[in-house]
Symmetry: C2
Subunit: 453 residues, 2 copies
C-alpha cells in the first residue's frame, strides 16, 4: 500500500489559538438566564464558581483566543494527536468512500477531555484558586480534571454518578492515582445530594448540583464543567484545527464531518473550525451529530430554556432538552446521558447546519466491533455512535457510487468500558428504550422561562 | 519552555529491517537442546509448532532481517511511537540528569507486544496456518496476538493463567472483542492442564505447556510465544531503532538505557540496537535490567539449561532460571512473573554487559505514582520497575552533579492494572518475598542437562 495510513504533525503544529465560533453564528446569541430572576445572567452570576478568564471566554466575540503557553506546554504531552485514513475499514465495507478519523484516545486520560481540563485548571490556578470541584458520569471528564489538577498543583474533588462509581472502580482508581478525591453521588456532603437521596444510582444532573453547591459555598474553590458551555467547546477546537492541517496533508477535503454528542464538546471541537468555513461561504461540508436513541436530546427534545443541573442551581440555557430532571436509561455511553446539549450545537441544529441522528445501543456496539477488528483501536461506547453513523454514510456512498470523504472524531478508547463489550459479545446487552411519557412528565417540570423565538 | 517534549517521527521512518544482535554476540551461541535427547535441537524439533520463516529468524546470523511490507503496513497503525523528554519529572527530582522515555503504550493493545504478534501472525498466515495458540499472564501478549490474528484473518486461542482470568475479566473481554477464544488455565482441554489441575490459579509455565501441546497435536495450528525467543527479541528492535533516530533529533546520546525484564523482549527491543554499538566499540552505554524482587531471575537465578514451560515440552534453553516449576509470588507485574529469561539477554548479563537490579512491589508503585503525577501517563506495573531504576539513576546523577542522559522503555500503560493502583493507594498492596527455599527445591528438579561452560 502506498497511501499513508497516519498523518502526523510535529509538536510545533499544536494550534496557538482556539477558534471561537460565536461571532460567526447567525443571529444574536441567546443569553443564559439567572435562575432566580429569569433575566439575562451576567458575569456576577458566574463569578462564585468560575474565574473571570473563563467567563470572558464564555461570552467572547473575538474570532480567536490565544492559548496560554503553559497550556500548550501540557498539550505537548500528547498533542498533536494522529489522524488516520481507515484503509482497512474501507476495504471491509467495499465502499468508494474515503474515511478518516482523528484519534483523541492517545491522551493520558484516554479521551479529548484533557484539552479543556488543562485550560480550565490553568485559568483557575492563575486566579489563585486552590481547589476544583466537578462531576463525572462515565469517568472521562473526572479523570481529565484529576490529571490537569495534578499537573498544576490544584486539589481536585469529583462527584461521581453512583451507578458509575459502583460499576467502574477502575475509573475511580485512575482519578485517585492522579491525586483526586472521589465522592459517590448522591452524597450526604451537600444539601443537593441529601435532597436527591432516593435516586440511589444518581445522575449527571444531581452530581452537577452537588459540585456547583460546594464551589459556590467555599472560598478558594471553583467549579469545572466538562462540556456544554461555550468555553469548553472553544478549548476543544484544537482537534478540528489539527484535523484540518492533517486533511490538507492527505490532500482531501471532508464532505461530511461526524461526531457523537452528549454535551457537545468533542463534536464542537472537531466541527467548529470546519463549520466556520461553511458559515463564511467557503465550503459546503455536511455535519452529522450521533446520539443515543435512549437519550435523544437533539432528535426528540424540546428547544427551550432549561437548567443544566437537576436541582436548578445553574443558569438556564437555551437548548434542546429532555427536561432537567429526566433520568436517561442506563446505556453504557455514560458520556452521552445528559438531558441537554451545548447551546451553540443546539442553535446550529435548529438552524439546519447540523443533522442529528439517534442510534440504539446494540447497533453502535456492532459498529465498534467491526471497527476494532479492522482498524485495531477499541473505541469507547460514545464514539461508537459516530462510527455507526460513518458506516451508514459509507454505505450510502457505495449505493450512490460516490467517493464521499468522511471525517469523524474518535474521541476516546474503550479500555474502561470492557464490561459493556463483554455484555455485547455475550448477547446480553440491554437496548433500553427512550420513554416519551417520562420526557413529557419532565418537560412539565421545566422552569417557567421565556420561550425561545 | 523552549526544549521539545515529544520527538515525533513520520510514518516513513518506521524501520525497514529488524536488528539481529546474534552475530555480534561474543563467543559461539549456545544451542537449545531437544528435551528428549539433550542434543542440540534443530529445525525438526521446532517445525511442529513454528513456521520455517520464524525458525530461520531464530537462528539467523544475518545482521539485519527485512521487515515484510504487510507487517510494516500494520505497524503504521501506531508506529513510529513517540519519544519524550521527561522535563516535568526532571524538575520534580531536581536532577541534572536528562531523562527520555520511549512510549509503546500507544499501540491498540497498550504495550510493545504487537510488534512481534503482528510479525508472527503474518509469518504463520504466509505458511498456510489457520490458527494460532498461545498463553497469556497479565493479558498483554494475549491481547496483542488476538489483535494481530484479527488483522490477518487467523483464528486465535489463548490459554490465560487462571488467577489473571479471574482477576482481569476486562483483558479477557478485550481479547474476545478482537475475536479470540480465551480458555482458563489449567484447563481440562489438554493433558498438560489435567496433570496440573491441583495448581488451580495456574502459572505462565503451565499455560505454555497447554498451548504448545495443542499446537503440536493439531494440523494447521501453530504456537506463538510473546517473549524469550531470539525471533521475538528481533521483532522488538523497531523500538530501539526508532529511539536512536529520536535521540538524534533531541541531540543527545544515552549514557544508560533502562528497561524491565520478564522474558526480555521489551528490554531487548530497546537495548539491542544500542548494544550493537557497544559490542562494536562505537559507544560506552550502560544497560540496566529491572526485575521484581519476588521473581529475581537475573539477580538470583542459576545460569543453567532449563525448560521454557512447566511440564517440559519445550526445548531446553541456556538461561538464568529459578526452576521451570517455580511459581513466583502473585505480584501485579504479571508480565515479569517468569522463571527464566531470554537466552540472549541472559548471556549479556553473564558477560557483564547488562546490569540486573531487583525491586520490591511497593517501591515500584511509588515510582509509578510519581511518574503519573508529573508525566501524566499511568504506567503498567512492569515498566514501573524500569521507572524505579530511573529514579535511582537520576538521584545518583544528582549526587555526582552529573548531567547523565537516561533513556528508558515505557513499554505499556496501566489501564488494565488499576486494581493494583487501588490497592497501593489504600496501603493494602502486598510485598511478597522471594523464597530461596522454594527456588532451591525447584532447581533440584531441573532436567539432567549439560552444564554451561
Amino acid at each position: 500500500m502506498t497511501a499513508a495510513t497516519k498523518f502526523t504533525l510535529t509538536e510545533d503544529r499544536i494550534p496557538t489559538h482556539w477558534v471561537n465560533l460565536l461571532p460567526d453564528l447567525p443571529g444574536e446569541p441567546l443569553p443564559p438566564l439567572n435562575p432566580g430572576t429569569m433575566q439575562p445572567a451576567g458575569p456576577d452570576d458566574l463569578t462564585p464558581i468560575f474565574p473571570m478568564e473563563l467567563i470572558g471566554q464564555e461570552v467572547s466575540m473575538e474570532h480567536e483566543v490565544e492559548i496560554p503557553e503553559p497550556v500548550r506546554d501540557v498539550y505537548r504531552l500528547w498533542r498533536p494527536t494522529p489522524l488516520y485514513r481507515a484503509h482497512r475499514l474501507e476495504r471491509l465495507l467495499d465502499t468508494p468512500a474515503r474515511i478518516y478519523y482523528k484519534y483523541e484516545g492517545v491522551s493520558p486520560a484516554g479521551s479529548h477531555k484533557p484539552n479543556s481540563a488543562v485550560a480550565q485548571a490553568y485559568a483557575n490556578k492563575e486566579a489563585g484558586i486552590e481547589r476544583l470541584v466537578t462531576e463525572t458520569g462515565a469517568g472521562q471528564w473526572g479523570s481529565a480534571l484529576a490529571l490537569a489538577c495534578s499537573l498544576f498543583g490544584l486539589e481536585c474533588v469529583v462527584y461521581m454518578v453512583g451507578a458509575s462509581y459502583d460499576q467502574k472502580p477502575y475509573r475511580r482508581a485512575m482519578m485517585e492515582s492522579w491525586g483526586a478525591s472521589v465522592i459517590r453521588s448522591p452524597s450526604d456532603t451537600t444539601e443537593s445530594g441529601r435532597s436527591q437521596a432516593e435516586h440511589t444510582t444518581g445522575s449527571l444532573g444531581i452530581a452537577i448540583s452537588e459540585a456547583v453547591e460546594v464551589a459556590a459555598g467555599n472560598e478558594g474553590t471553583n467549579y469545572a464543567l466538562g462540556s456544554v458551555l461555550n468555553h469548553v467547546c472553544l478549548h476543544q477546537t484544537v482537534i478540528g484545527q489539527e484535523a484540518m492541517a492533517q486533511m490538507e496533508m492527505a490532500g482531501d477535503e471532508p464532505d461530511v464531518v461526524v461526531g457523537c454528542v452528549g454535551g457537545g464538546s468533542n463534536f464542537a471541537g472537531m466541527a467548529f473550525p470546519f463549520l466556520r468555513r461553511v458559515l463564511r461561504g467557503d465550503a459546503k461540508t455536511r455535519f452529522v451529530a450521533a446520539e443515543p436513541a435512549a437519550c435523544p436530546t437533539l432528535t426528540r427534545g424540546a428547544y427551550r430554556y432549561d437548567f443544566g443541573d437537576t436541582v436548578g442551581l445553574t443558569p438556564l440555557m437555551p437548548m434542546y432538552t429532555l427536561g432537567h430532571d429526566f433520568v436517561p436509561p442506563p446505556v453504557h455511553a455514560g458520556g452521552l446521558r445528559y438531558h441537554g446539549d451545548s447551546p451553540m450545537v443546539c442553535g446550529l441544529v435548529k438552524a439546519g447546519l447540523i443533522e442529528p441522528r439517534a442510534y440504539r445501543q446494540n447497533e453502535t456496539f456492532e459498529a465498534a466491533i467491526r471497527f476494532a477488528r479492522t482498524e485495531a483501536i477499541l473505541p469507547a461506547p460514545e464514539p461508537a455512535h459516530a462510527i455507526r453513523a460513518v458506516l451508514d454514510e459509507a454505505e450510502e456512498a457505495k449505493q450512490a457510487g460516490e467517493a464521499r470523504v468522511i471525517l469523524f472524531n474518535l474521541c476516546g478508547h474503550g479500555h474502561f468500558d470492557m464490561s459493556a463489550y463483554d455484555a455485547y459479545l455475550a448477547g446480553k446487552l440491554e437496548d433500553p428504550e427512550f420513554s416519551e411519557a417520562d420526557m413529557e412528565a419532565a418537560l412539565e417540570r421545566l422552569p417557567d422561562a421565556p420561550a425561545i423565538a
